[in-house]
């Protein structure tokens, strides 16, 4: 007993270090393996409101560019309005549309915190549970995809950016539909790498890549990037492509959170079939 006390008294500093360090490492491991388990996160109200205040100041610096982007987006949307189409049908009447069911709805959100130069980048948005955001929803801009919602608080959410070591998106070549997996090519925030693209794909430099719709987070057909380069590495049976993202992660301000209205049905079905969510 005496020896134990002497031992503790002599090595108290190292023991304290071991205790604190094991707490920290445990948290890191938890955070890595159970993405939603973190008790405290950047989505909390205190840092969230601080980031929002900062954003209210800094967003003025990019106003001009944001206006141009929003105007372009308006032009695209106006082209899709009913009034943009000439109506040939003079005996028109309304019917209940049974062929098309609304699957996706979008929640507009502001980026209040964003990084591109870390190994694992996260984005904080000013929308949360009260506005209908849930974990695993996709986040897009009109021109490309941004990431996947990881953690949600009442009024904020944290998005795992595409610029993250764990980011993996199923992307397909627009012209022939062959698909592969898209990862981030650290450390350049502009480029990604697509692997596992089958060699029968008629891919060429400059081809557009879109989301394949195979994951649950993104609708299909949203632009992801353009092919810069592709090669078949020795011993591989597939192509590896270098991809230029269409999203400019340095200039994110207005984004949309994708709400899949049929998600509960799909989840239910998967559970019945015993399929685990691939991620």
């Amino acid at each position: 007993m005496r020896n134990l006390i002497v031992f503790l008294a002599r090595h108290y500093f190292f023991l304290l270090f071991l205790l604190l360090q094991s707490i920290a490492i445990t948290l890191v491991v938890q955070h890595n393996y159970f993405q939603h388990a973190a008790a405290v996160s950047a989505s909390n109200a205190v840092t969230g409101s601080m980031m929002e205040t900062r954003d209210q100041v800094t967003q003025y610096f990019g106003l001009r560019e944001q206006n141009v982007q929003l105007a372009e987006q308006n032009a695209i949307l106006m082209g899709k309005l009913e009034s943009a189409y000439l109506n040939y049908d003079t005996t028109s009447f309304t019917v209940e549309d049974t062929l098309h069911r609304l699957r996706y709805s979008y929640i507009a959100a502001q980026v209040i915190d964003n990084t591109v130069s870390l190994r694992n980048n996260y984005i904080v948005l000013n929308r949360g549970r009260l506005q209908g955001v849930e974990p695993d929803m996709g986040v897009i801009t009109p021109g490309g995809i941004v990431g996947i919602v990881r953690e949600v608080s009442d009024n904020f959410c944290v998005v795992m950016s595409l610029l993250h070591k764990d980011s993996k998106v199923s992307a397909s070549v627009k012209k022939d539909g062959t698909f592969g997996q898209l990862y981030w090519e650290w450390p350049d925030y502009r480029y990604g790498v697509m692997v596992d693209l089958p060699t029968h794909s008629k891919i060429a430099k400059g081809d557009t890549l879109v989301t394949s719709g195979l994951g649950d987070a993104f609708p299909s057909g949203i632009p992801v990037g353009t092919v810069m380069d592709f090669e078949k590495k020795a011993g591989d049976k597939t192509y590896t492509c270098r991809v230029l993202y269409t999203t400019d992660f340095r200039k994110l301000q207005h984004v949309f959170i994708v709400r899949d209205l049929m998600r509960p049905e799909i989840d239910q079905l998967k559970e019945k079939a015993g399929v685990k969510n691939a991620e």
Partner: protein, 172 residues
């Protein structure tokens, strides 16, 4: 004594805010991620008991982790740094010991002493942080480059901050 305590308190909060709201979003270039907030640990007084320094480092890491959304990584890096500091101080002990009232700054301890002291501890911090961040055995070499480059960037910021905010202590 109180003013001394307050100065450290203000530095604690100020550095966390500067790191979490400004430096975090700074795009200095590929692989460059400066973490100026470790200046708090670097400028703890010599006389402070080592275990208090360790607890303070742990707390500092906790708050920075909240801003970065990386639970545990900064805590681990800071704890390692807080543990290494007493050993480094002992190793770099001047011939006649640390004078009472001296601060671990360039102004008090000289350029050579401070830069080697800061560089070693910042390296320890960044090493732990960046390797925990990738959390695998991929990208080992590129991460090492990142440790070196970022250590240099942090060191530069620390030195600049010292020249801006610290004054030579009047002998009183």
């Amino acid at each position: 004594m109180l003013s001394e305590l307050m100065r450290h308190g203000i530095r604690f909060i100020g550095l966390i805010l500067v790191q979490g709201l400004i430096l975090k979003n700074l795009e200095a270039g590929y692989l460059i991620n400066p973490f100026l907030y470790v200046l708090f640990i670097l400028s703890l007084p010599f006389e402070l008991p080592a275990w208090i320094g360790l607890l303070l480092a742990f707390a500092l890491g906790f708050f920075v982790d909240i801003f970065y959304g990386t639970m545990g990584m900064h805590m681990a890096a800071c704890t390692m740094m807080g543990w290494a500091r007493p050993a480094i101080l002992k190793f770099m002990n001047p011939r006649d010991g640390y004078e009472f009232g001296m601060q671990p700054t360039i102004q008090d301890m000289g350029r050579m002493w401070f830069i080697s002291y800061a560089a070693i501890l910042i390296f320890v911090h960044h090493f732990v942080l960046f390797y925990l961040e990738i959390f695998s055995f991929r990208e080992v070499w590129l991460t090492f480059v990142r440790v070196l480059v970022s250590t240099a960037a942090t060191l530069l910021l620390v030195i600049i901050t010292q020249f801006l905010f610290y004054r030579k202590r009047e002998s009183a």
